[in-house]
Each structure stands twice: as structure tokens, then as C-alpha cells.
């Protein structure tokens, strides 16, 4: 059964999987990161769907603006309540692509980079369920959660008991403009800048140390 599934995996997945052959460099400045954000119809991993994905890649400490993208996915599911948040209507003028096409683009930019997101468990969860719908395995990337990292960067006296921080709180803390909040790429950008500021405070000496600090807590059901 397993071997059968493997054979059926499409070429883009194989290329993605192959990029993991080389392990991550322990020199943080050489490690590639992909900062990602998804806008969804809701917060239920099973029922809700991804409406758009914003992603940018950090290579040698630089965000490559040209490679950053924002995708809008065709989805049958629609939730009028969340439209006010992300502003993506069911029939809007933006060009939409099929979910599988979107996943393909995400895998292409991701490769074996460390995946960074705010509440990364939610984004990977959404991506993994949609990968599963298309018969694909889960993401293989190491992940970092800016909410967790931010918590660890604060002096104990300022940490919240529930260790939950919104992206707006981070943006306010680091004085990042929120002009394009709640667009997938806009949020990814805010996450990336916040991530840099947090790294500046945490000063990890190796990739391993950073990953340890950013290990996300289990996804809170109550969220």
C-alpha cells in the first residue's frame, strides 16, 4: 500500500522531497526561511478551506520581493463571517487558481527551507489537510512559530500566562505598519519583520538552538 502511494506521487512532490537530501546548515545566516500566511474560511482544520496563501523567502538575510507571492484559491466552501476579515469574496475580480496548483507553488518556494508563520501550527495544519485531500503526504519542513519565539524573547515579567500573542500585538510591539493586515502576503511580511526583530533579541547561535526555541506548543483547541 505504502509503496503504491509513493509511486503515484507527482513529480513536483518528488522534487520537493528531494530538496531535503541536504540537511540544514547550522549557520543561521545560510539557512533559507519561508515566511507564510494563509487566509481561510474559518479556524476549523477539517471543515474550513484556504482562500489565499502569501509566502516570501528569506535568503542570506534578505527578503526577495520578486519571489514573494500571494495566491487566491478556488474554493467551494464559503463563509460570509470571515469575509469581513480578509476581504476575499466568493466571486471577486482577483485571479484564482485551483487548490492543487496553489499547493504546487507553495512546495516550489518552500523546498527544504524552515517554515515560519505566526501560529505556524494552524497554517501547516490547513496546508496538510488540503495536501491530504489531494493524496499527498504532510509537509516535511522544520517550522518556527513567531508567537512562541516572541514569548521566549520577552523577559519573564512581561510574558503572558497563556503565551498567546496576536500578530497585531507583535506589529505594535515592533512598530511595524499594519497597512495591509489580513492579506496573506501582508501578514506574511509583518510576520517576517517581527521574526527578524525577535531573532535580534534572542540571538540564537545555531539553527538547532533557534528551532528548539521556536518549537510550537500544541495547537490550542480553544482557539
Amino acid at each position: 500500500m505504502m509503496t503504491k502511494t509513493k509511486k503515484e506521487l507527482p513529480a513536483f512532490w518528488k522534487a520537493y522531497a528531494a530538496s531535503f537530501k541536504n540537511g540544514l546548515s547550522q549557520d543561521l545566516s545560510k539557512v533559507s526561511l519561508v515566511v507564510l500566511d494563509t487566509e481561510t474560511t474559518g479556524l476549523n482544520l477539517k471543515k474550513d478551506r484556504i482562500l489565499s496563501i502569501g509566502a516570501l523567502r528569506i535568503e542570506n538575510g534578505q527578503i526577495l520581493t520578486k519571489e514573494a507571492f500571494e495566491l487566491f484559491l478556488e474554493q467551494e466552501k464559503f463563509n460570509a463571517q470571515t469575509v469581513s476579515i480578509h476581504g476575499i469574496r466568493k466571486t471577486s475580480a482577483v485571479q484564482k487558481i485551483a487548490e492543487l496548483e496553489g499547493l504546487k507553488k507553495v512546495l516550489t518556494i518552500l523546498e527544504n527551507a524552515i517554515l515560519v508563520a505566526h501560529h505556524v501550527g494552524f497554517d501547516t495544519g490547513m496546508l496538510n489537510t488540503s495536501l491530504k485531500r489531494h493524496g499527498l503526504p504532510k509537509l516535511k519542513n522544520k517550522t518556527l512559530d513567531t508567537s512562541v519565539l516572541f514569548h521566549r524573547s520577552l523577559p519573564r515579567s512581561q510574558q503572558k500566562a497563556n503565551s498567546h500573542y496576536t500578530l497585531d500585538e507583535l506589529a505594535a510591539f515592533f512598530n511595524i505598519s499594519t497597512s495591509d493586515r489580513h492579506t496573506a502576503l501582508g501578514d506574511a511580511y509583518i510576520t517576517a519583520i517581527a521574526f527578524w526583530h525577535i531573532i535580534g533579541k534572542l540571538k540564537p547561535t545555531s539553527t538547532k538552538e533557534l528551532l528548539k526555541k521556536g518549537r510550537f506548543f500544541s495547537w490550542p483547541i480553544s482557539f
Partner: protein
Amino acid sequence: MQNSISYRIADFLKRFPPFSNIPEATLQEIATEVNIVYKEKGSVIFKQGEATHPHYYVVHKGAISLWSTHEQLCLDICDEGDIFGLRPLMANDSYRLDALAEEESILYAIPIAVFRPLAKNNSAVTTFLVESFASNTRNPYASMPKGQLLGDTVKFDANRHSTDFLDFQPVTYTKDLVTATSNERIATLAKAMTMHRIGAILITENQLPLGIITDKDLRNKIATGLHSITENAASIMSTPVITYPAQLSVAQAQMGMMKNHISHLVLTEDGTTNTKAIGVLSKHDIMLSLGNNPAVLVKAIKRSKSVEEIKSLRMGVMNLLRGYLKQNIPMALTANIIAELNDVCIKQIITLTLQRMTSGPPVPFAWLALGSQGRKEQLLHTDQDNALVFANVPDGQLPTTQSYFLELGKKITAGLHAIGYDYCPAGMMASNPKWCQSLDGYRRTISAWITNPGPNEVLLSSIFFDYSLVYGDAILISQLSKHITKTIRSSPIFLSHLAKDALMSPSPTGFFRQFLVEQDGEHRDYFDLKKRALMPLIDAARVLTLSEHITGISNTWDRFKKLAEIQPQNAELFLACSYASKALLKFRTKQGLAHNDSGRFISLDKLTKEEKVKLKRTFKSIKGIQELINTRFMVSRLQ
């Protein structure tokens, strides 16, 4: 592809030159190619000698400092919207400077390959970049605003000229060159010289200097009959000419004339006869330069016989000050010279007044300058704050003695007013019986201030304790100083009150490093440079030196220097404060000269980016010194 990040970038860039001159569509195109770079505090963006990056940089957030490696000199600090690392745009070699992240910074890296073709046909953009490139290699304390080319600023070399005032003024020379060719007839030349009222005419060939004909040549060679006026210039001209580069100090020019026994120097582009002649310098030009010289002014002031004469000479002092600031002569030196000149003026007023009194002073006395004048930080005219101390006399003679000195004080303050010093609105002048007392009278006053320090006492002592002797008996002053230190030793609580007062000045910046401007009144929306930036430093220096029982130094930066010596553990902060107080005073003086006021209130939107950064840099020291005072004098306990 355009995306929300590229919109963000374009939105930011369009606020700053040169991008403000780029059409929106083009800017959007550029923005998609920009990389966003994060730099930790203290990290390197590039090093001198490193191969150039394919980008130049715009600071989005934070601050980047540019350093000249071999001089260990910070040349500039770039903050939001400033561009740096332009070398690869101009030349295909390595970086000449180090760029370091002064703070945690986010930079936009603009790819040159993309930018160059898009900006190529935009002359406004090109000009701005060329000028920025040149100005990045310039000292940030230079007087010229950003955008000036390097060659236009006269560089002052502190090491070479530190001892001789005459030396460091560059020569001013006749730039409207009158030239002729060697086949011109002498009569025509003489007519031209008369018409232009010049003493020498340069003979050139293809703009290169070939020879020179001076009045002396006409006298010695024509008037004596050796040559006829119908002959050609070539027959009487002195050739080859002695040439010098235009960047010449007065002293060098004088030496050149003496050495060669000539009265005119020809200035060329590179100082040789192989480059274009750009000016002729005559002995007369040098005399004019010397007239604008402190030594000459001092002599003239000392020779003056009336207040009117001193008044007109003070105009020369202001011109000198303007020149010093323009030439970027170190502030401490400038302030010293100007303070000395002010001193000489006041002394001369006192001397003249004493001559006009019907009798000489009954006992020795001393004339004190107080406040900013006492600190030798008064460059522009401000109010006169002064006091007169006379030697103790038996009680019976006190009324007559005091009335003599009061009359003297009134006449002197009137004289000072006539030469441009406004009367002190608070009446802190030697014409006021409170400030015209015997030594014992002052001792009583000072003891009362120190042992019972209310707000008014603290204010008065903060002005009075910055005294310096202008005229008269130095022994009286040292006795006064001794009394002050003795009284403070026995009532140390006074220092806490003084410290508290020093911390009262409102903060210069808000939480987000923005300038805090005045909220109401005549100067609404102006930045109060004196109250928010200078006073905190001045007050801090005073309380700290008094606590160390240092007397005889009233100048703020000298006080900080002294403090750095005796408290090496805080030397860095004290030296930074010393520097900041100099920089701020220079700033205030320049603002004052530019707007013809006291320079106290500054309109922020008239400041250049660079000036704002410079100002902000001094605020760090202010914050540091206030924290130190707060802990050292336990000010919070007073509240």
C-alpha cells in the same frame, strides 16, 4: 510581479529623494526588484575594500553609520530614508567606507542593474545621487548642508593649525580674472588695469598662465623709459609665473610672497602652470583677510576710545564667527576666540567707564560675567548677566562704597547695552544693589541659598555659580569660590536640590524618538533647543562639578572633560556630554545666525535630515547624564 510587499516599498520610497522624482509606475517596477535586509545592531553591511554589492541601500528603519577605517572617524549616520553604499553605482571598484548598523535596522537593497537604466534619463535623480555619493564621504559635522560636493567644502585640519589663529583662514582672492594675451600692447593693458582697478594682469595662453604684469612692472620698465608703451606684453611680463593651488591658507600665501619677493600669487587648479588659472591673490587680499582676524580685532578694540567704536568692531566679531562656523573650525576653539573677543569688548567698556568716573575705585573690585557669558558659551548676543564684588570695608564706609560701585555698574551696563547686550530682564546686573556687594555681602547671600534652597535660591545659584572673572581682582573671586565649596560641604542637601532642578528640563524626544515640540504659546510647534537640549547638559555639568568641589571651570564642555578625568568609570558618558554640548551650541549659533535671532527655537521642518540626526544623537547623552544624576543625588527622595 507586483505584490503587497512591493507596494509597501514603493509607498515608503516615494517619500524620499531621489525616488520622489521617479514616476509612480517606474517606482513600482523598481520596488518589485528590491530586497529587504535586516541588520542586527553592530553588524556590518559592508567593509572598506570589500567588492561592491549589486545593490545600494535605503534605510527603512534604524540607523547606519559610515566609517572611514584608517581615520577611525564616523563620517555620517544615515537614518530613515537616507541612501548609502552608492559606490557601485558610480565606480566599479571596492567600497571606501565601512557601513555598520548603529541600531537594529531594516534596509531596502535597490539593485543597480535595474535602477540604472530606469534612472538614467532622469537628471534630477542622477544629480541627487551624485551629490549624495559625494556627501557620504564628508564629515557629518561639516557646516555645509547635505548635497554639497566634497570639493566645495574647505577641510580644516585641526592638527596642523591648532596653535595659530592666523593660519587657518583660507585666502579669499580675486576670482574675476582679467587676462590678456602676450601680443597685447602695453598701453591697452594699462587701460584695462585702470578700468578694472587691479594691480596686476595675467597673461595667458590657452587659459594657462604664461606671465604677469604688475603696477611695479609698469613703474620700473615703462615709466623709467626702458620700454615703450607701444611694445607687447611679452616684453615686460614676468615669466614664468609663480603658481599656487587655490586651497591656500593666509600664512602659506604670505610665505609664498615673502619667499619669492612678489606681490601677487597666481592660483591655478592644481597649483602648477599646467592647469587653468583661476585667480590672482594680491597682498591687498591678504591684508583684508587679516582685518578679519582676531588678533587684529583685539588690537583695534583695545585702541578704541568710544562705545560707538567698540560697537562697530563687534560687527567684525560676528563676521568672524560666521566665517569660523562656515569653515568648520572646532567649536571649542571658536567659542574660546569669540568669548575672548567678547571679554576684550567688556574689559574695554569697563576701562573706558573707569576713566570717566570722577574718582578711582575706593577699594579693589571684580567684575563677574554670569550665566552663559560666564560659561563662555555666549556666541550670539544675549542678555547681560553680571555682578560686581568689592573688597570688604568697615561698616561705616559700606553705603558710600556701594553707591560708588553702583554708579560704576550702571554706567558699565549702559555701555554694554550700547554695544548690543540686552539688559537682563530679571535685573541680574551690577547696577542692581543685590548684585553689587562686598565680599562678605555675597558670602551671606550664598550661604542663605545653600542652606535654605527653595526654587528661587536654586535658580539664582544656578546662574551665579557659572561666574567667571572678566575684570579686576582675582583674589576676591578665589575667596568667593572657597566660600561656596565650604558651604556646600556642610550642606550637601543643596546638591540634591540642584540635581532635582537639573532634571526638570522636559525631555527632547518622545517614545518613538520623535522630537517633542512646544504645545502652546508664541513658539508653538517649534523645538526649544535651549530648554530641551542645552539646559539639561549645562545644569548637569554644574551640579556634578560642584559636588566634586571643582571651582574655576564654568564652561560646560570643560566641566565635563574635567569630570571625565576624575571619574574615569563614567568617562565615556562625560566625554559624550562634552561633545554634545559643543555640537548643540554650534547648532544653536548657526540657527541663530541664519535666522538672525537667538537660535533658541527651531522649526523642525526647516531642518535637513542630517541636522535632525545630529540633534538626536546628542539626546542619548542627555538621557544618560540625567539617569546618572538621578541615582547619584537620590533626587527621587526629595519628592
